[in-house]
C-alpha cells in the first residue's frame, strides 16, 4: 500500500527555513512517500547488472558487497577521467546559491538537500575526501566527508529525488548541471545494485521486447488496431499502418507510453491520422517501438544498449530516415547522445519531407527528425486542412518538457502547431516556461506510485503556474510533447488543479485535422462531443 497522501493545503505549506543542524552531520532520513522500491533481482539479472537481491530502501542493511566502498570510489575515479563535466563540476562550484530556489523539489519540499548545490555537495564532500589534497589534509574544515553507509544512503535518497531536469544549470554562472552529477551518482549506485524497481522493470522490458511496457509484437499491433477502430468511429476512415515493412521511406518511433493508456493513445491516434492523411510511406517497427530510454536513468552503458535497436532496425528495414514522436528524455538522448553512441548513420539519407521537400538541415547527421518539426513544416506549407474550432472547448496552455527545452530548445514548433489547431492558447508566466520551465516532478524514472508525495511536491511549481492561467483564462487543457508528462501531469492536475486535462500536441492536431473523405465529426478522439455537436 502506498502511504497516504496529505491534502494539497498541507503540502502547499512549505517551510524553507533550514534546520539548525549542519547538513554534513546529518544522516539519511528515508521518508515515507519519498522513495521507490528497490529493484527486484530478476530485472537486474535480465540485463546483467550487479548485485541482484531483494532489498528495501528502509532496511537497515542494504545487502551491499563487502568492498562496496572501493567499488564506489574506483567508479568515481574512472568517471572523473571519462567526463570533463563531472570532474569540473566537482571542483568549480562557489556555492553562490543561485540554483537553490530553481529546483522544483526544493520549492516543493523546503528540504535544503534538495537545493541543487547541496545535492551536489553530498557527492562533492566525498570527492574532496578521497580525490583532493585539501580534503585529504584538512578533512571536515575543507568540507570533506568519509563515505560511510549513511552518506551512501543520503546520496541514494537525493539522487532519486532529482529529475535531471537541468533547470538549475540554466541559472548557474558556470553552467554546472546537476543532471550530470545525478547521472553519475546513479551510475555509481548502480554498480552496487542500488536502483529502483520502477526504473529497472522498464529497462529489463525494453531490453527483451524493445519497449518499457513489455508489449510483445502482436500486442503492439493489436493496441494500435484498437486505436484504428476508434479513429474509424470518429472519422469514418479506415487507417492502415504497416509494421516491420522493408523499404518504407521513414521509420516512425515513439515512446511506448503512446501505445498504452490514456491520454497517450490519443496522441498516437493523432500521428496515425496525420500519416494516413499525408499518404506517408512509413512503417512502425515492433522492436524499435520505444523512443524513451530508462537506461538513461541507470547508466550510460545501459542507455546505449537500449538505444541500439533504433538504428539497427532502420538499417534492417532499409528506411531513409527516422521520425520521432513526442517524448522528453527520448529527445534529450536523440539530440545529445544518439549519434555519438551509434553513428555515423551513413546507411540513412539526410531527411527530406516527402510532402514539402523541406530538408531538415539540423538533423542531417543523425537523420532523426522531431515530429513537431515535421508537422509545423507541413502547416507552414499549407499541406494540412485544419479546423481549429473543433478545439474551441479547450483553453490550452503548453508545458515545455525539461528535456526538449533545455537539452534541445524546441520551443516554437509545438506552439506553432497549437496556434494553428486551437483558437484559445495562453502562456503560463514567463519564468515558468521555455528554458525556465518547471518539471512535472516525476521525470527520470520517478513516476512510480509509492513516492506520490514526492511527486506531488516536485510538481507543485508546475501545477501552481497552471493554476495561474486557469484562474485568469479558464485554462482546461495542458498540452505537452512528452509521454512521461502525459502520464504524470494528469494525477498532478487532479491533485493540485482539478479540472485541467492533459494532451499531447498531436491529439489536438488529430482533432483539428480535416481528412479527405471523412464523415461529419461529432465527437473528438476521446469520444466526447465536439463543441456545438453536443446533441448529435
Amino acid at each position: 500500500m502506498p502511504p497516504k497522501l496529505p491534502k494539497p493545503e498541507e503540502l502547499a505549506n512549505v517551510n524553507y527555513k533550514p534546520p539548525k543542524k549542519w547538513w554534513q552531520k546529518g544522516t539519511a532520513e528515508i521518508k515515507e512517500g519519498f522513495w521507490c522500491f528497490g529493484s527486484r533481482p530478476k530485472y537486474l539479472q535480465a540485463v546483467d547488472m550487479p548485485n541482484p537481491r531483494e532489498w528495501k530502501p528502509t532496511d537497515e542493511d542494504w545487502k551491499l558487497p563487502d568492498n562496496w566502498r572501493e567499488i564506489f570510489l574506483e567508479g568515481m575515479a574512472e568517471r572523473l577521467q571519462k567526463y570533463r563535466s563531472f570532474h569540473l563540476f566537482m571542483d568549480i562550484c562557489v556555492r553562490c546559491g543561485a540554483c537553490a530556489d530553481k529546483c522544483h523539489f526544493y520549492l516543493g519540499t523546503g528540504d535544503p538537500k534538495n537545493m541543487p548545490v547541496l545535492r551536489a555537495e553530498l557527492l562533492r564532500s566525498v570527492y574532496r575526501k578521497y580525490f583532493t589534497p585539501s580534503g585529504k589534509l584538512l578533512g571536515k574544515i575543507a568540507g570533506a566527508r568519509e563515505l560511510t553507509p549513511d552518506v551512501l544512503k543520503e546520496i541514494w535518497t537525493y539522487a532519486f529525488q532529482c529529475t535531471e531536469c537541468r533547470r538549475c544549470s540554466v541559472f548557474c554562472p558556470y553552467g554546472i548541471d546537476t543532471a550530470e552529477i545525478t547521472i553519475i551518482a546513479r551510475e555509481l549506485l548502480n554498480l552496487l545494485g542500488l536502483n529502483t524497481d520502477w526504473i529497472m522493470g522498464p529497462v529489463a522490458n525494453s531490453y527483451r521486447t524493445g519497449n518499457h511496457l513489455g508489449l510483445e509484437p502482436h500486442t503492439i499491433k493489436s493496441n494500435i488496431d484498437f486505436m484504428l477502430d476508434d479513429i474509424e468511429t470518429v472519422t469514418g476512415i479506415k487507417v492502415e499502418p504497416s509494421f516491420n515493412r522493408k523499404g518504407a521511406e521513414i521509420l516512425f518511433v515513439t515512446p511506448s507510453g503512446d501505445l498504452f493508456g490514456e491520454p497517450g493513445i490519443y496522441t498516437c491516434m493523432g500521428y496515425l491520422m496525420l500519416f494516413h492523411e499525408l499518404g506517408l510511406d512509413y512503417t512502425w517497427s515492433t522492436m524499435a517501438a520505444e523512443g524513451g530510454n530508462f537506461g538513461f536513468f541507470t547508466s550510460n552503458d545501459m542507455a546505449k544498449k537500449l538505444a541500439y535497436k533504433i538504428y539497427s532496425e532502420a538499417k534492417r528495414l532499409k528506411v531513409k530516415w527516422i521520425l520521432g514522436g513526442e517524448c522528453g528524455h527520448m529527445w534529450r538522448v536523440w539530440n545529445q547522445y544518439f549519434d555519438t553512441w551509434h553513428g555515423p548513420a551513413d546507411f540513412l539519407e539526410a531527411p527530406v519531407s516527402p510532402i514539402t521537400g523541406t530538408r531538415f538541415e539540423n538533423a542531417k547527421g543523425s537523420k532523426l527528425v522531431h515530429i513537431a518539426e515535421f508537422t509545423s513544416d507541413l502547416i507552414r506549407h499549407k499541406k494540412l486542412s485544419l479546423d481549429p474550432t473543433r478545439n474551441d472547448h479547450l483553453q490550452v496552455t503548453f508545458h515545455d518538457s525539461c528535456n526538449t527545452a533545455r537539452g534541445m530548445g524546441i520551443f516554437e514548433e509545438p506552439r506553432y502547431i497549437i496556434n494553428n489547431t486551437c483558437n484559445h492558447f495562453y502562456e503560463m508566466p514567463e519564468n515558468t516556461i521555455r528554458e525556465k520551465t518547471f518539471c512535472c516532478g516525476s521525470g527520470s524514472g520517478l513516476n512510480a506510485g509509492e513516492n506520490m508525495e514526492q511527486r506531488m511536491r516536485g510538481g507543485f511549481p508546475r501545477a501552481n503556474a497552471v493554476q495561474y492561467v486557469k484562474e485568469r483564462h479558464g485554462v482546461n487543457m495542458l498540452a505537452n510533447i512528452c509521454a512521461i508528462d502525459r502520464a504524470t501531469l494528469k494525477p498532478l492536475m487532479d491533485y493540485w488543479v482539478p479540472g485541467v486535462n492533459v494532451a499531447g500536441v498531436h491529439e489536438l492536431l488529430g482533432n483539428a485535422l480535416i481528412m479527405k473523405g471523412e464523415k461529419e465529426r461529432v465527437i473528438d478522439l476521446r469520444g466526447e462531443p465536439l463543441p456545438g455537436k453536443e446533441g448529435a
Binding site: R84, A100, S134, G409, N464
Partner: protein, 329 residues
C-alpha cells in the same frame, strides 16, 4: 562556525606578517621568498588543474539550451543562447565570462498564500559583477608597480578609476567597490539562511582574505601613505629577478603583500579555480548541433545489445500469427 574559523585564520595570517616583519625582521621572507613561492604555486597549480580537467574528455554534446534551436528556416533561432556553430558559442562564452549572462537570469521564488511567485532578482549578479570587475581593475592598476615606464592603458584606467576627483591622493573607485562588493557577498552568506546553510569555511576564507587585502591596500594609499617609491623599487626588483629589500616600507605593506601571496598560493587548491574552469564548462562551450554534426567520444565502445535475430527467435510465432513480417519463416 565556518566563518569564524576563516576569520581567525586571516587574523593569524595578518599577525604572522606583522610579527615577522616588526619583531623578527623577516622582510626578506615576506617581501621576496613568499611572493616568489606564491606566484610559482599559482602558476604551476592552476596549469596543473587546467591540464587535469582538459585531460578528461567531453564524451557528449550536453549543451544547456536556453533558447530556440536551429530548425526550419522560418523559425528564428536564438543563436547565442542555443548556438549551433562556433560563432554562437564564442559570443555565448564572452557574455558568460564578461557579463555573467546566466546569473543575470536569476529569479527569486517566494511562496505567498499557497502561490509561488517567481520574480527577477539581480542583486547577486550586481554584487558578483561589481566584485570581479573591481578586482580585475585593482589587479591591473597594480601593474604600475611592475612596469617602468608605466604602460599607457594604466594611465587611462587610473584616470577613469579616479573620475570622481575626490581627495588627495585621488580616490580610486575600484578599491572602494571591491571592498563594498566583498562585504556584500559576505553579508549575504550571513543573512540569507539558505546561503548560510550551504556555506563552507572555503567560502568565507577567500572573502575575509580579499577584504583584508582591500583594507590594507586602502590604508596604505589614504591613511599611512606608504612610501610608493620604496615599494616600487621592491616590486621592480621582484619582477626583474633582482629582488632587494628597502627599509622605510612599513609593516602594513608586508601584511598586504603576505595576504596577496596567500591568496595566490591558495588559489589552485580552492574553488577560486572557477576563474579558469568556466571556460571549460561543457554545458556552455558546446554548440547544440548533435543531430547535424557527429560528436566523437574518444572512449566510445561497441555495446552488446539484443539483436533483431534474438528478438525474432523469441517472438516469431506470435509475429507470424499477427501477420507481422519476419525474416525467417
Amino acid at each position: 562556525m565556518g566563518a569564524l574559523i576563516s576569520f581567525i585564520a586571516v587574523i593569524i595570517l595578518t599577525l604572522l606578517a606583522y610579527g615577522g616583519v616588526k619583531s623578527a625582521n623577516m622582510q626578506a621572507i615576506f617581501g621576496i621568498v613568499l611572493p616568489y613561492a606564491a606566484i610559482m604555486t599559482f602558476l604551476i597549480g592552476v596549469s596543473y588543474r587546467v591540464i587535469k580537467w582538459a585531460k578528461s574528455p567531453v564524451p557528449y554534446r550536453i549543451t544547456t539550451t536556453c533558447g530556440q534551436q536551429k530548425t526550419l528556416p522560418w523559425i528564428k533561432q536564438n543563436k547565442i543562447e542555443n548556438p549551433s556553430d562556433a560563432m554562437g558559442v564564442t559570443v555565448r562564452m564572452i557574455l558568460e565570462v564578461l557579463l555573467f549572462r546566466s546569473l543575470f537570469r536569476n529569479t527569486r521564488s517566494e511562496l505567498q498564500d499557497g502561490k509561488l511567485l517567481h520574480g527577477s532578482s539581480k542583486w547577486l549578479w550586481l554584487g558578483g559583477i561589481a566584485f570581479h570587475a573591481a578586482f580585475f581593475t585593482v589587479l591591473f592598476r597594480h601593474l604600475r608597480l611592475f612596469t617602468e615606464p608605466m604602460l599607457l592603458p594604466l594611465h587611462l584606467v587610473e584616470t577613469l578609476d579616479g573620475f570622481m576627483q575626490i581627495g588627495a591622493p585621488r580616490l580610486l573607485m575600484s578599491g572602494v567597490v571591491l571592498l563594498g562588493a566583498a562585504m556584500f557577498l559576505l553579508l549575504r552568506r550571513f543573512l540569507i539562511p539558505q546561503v548560510r546553510y550551504i556555506s563552507l569555511p572555503a567560502d568565507y576564507f577567500p572573502l575575509f582574505l580579499i577584504i583584508g587585502i582591500a583594507v590594507t591596500g586602502i590604508m596604505m594609499r589614504y591613511v599611512t601613505k606608504t612610501d610608493i617609491v620604496s615599494v616600487k623599487e621592491l616590486t621592480m626588483g621582484l619582477i626583474s629577478l633582482k629582488p632587494k629589500i628597502h627599509q622605510g616600507v612599513g609593516a602594513i605593506f608586508y601584511i598586504h603583500l603576505f595576504l596577496v601571496s596567500v591568496l595566490f598560493a591558495y588559489f589552485p587548491f580552492s574553488k577560486l579555480v572557477h576563474m579558469t574552469g568556466v571556460f571549460l564548462s561543457p554545458t556552455r562551450n558546446l554548440a547544440n548541433n548533435g543531430r547535424e554534426v557527429r560528436h566523437i567520444n574518444p572512449w566510445n565502445y561497441k555495446v552488446k545489445a539484443r539483436t533483431y535475430e534474438e528478438y525474432e527467435d523469441e517472438f516469431r510465432e506470435k509475429m507470424k500469427s499477427a501477420n507481422i513480417p519476419v525474416e525467417k519463416e
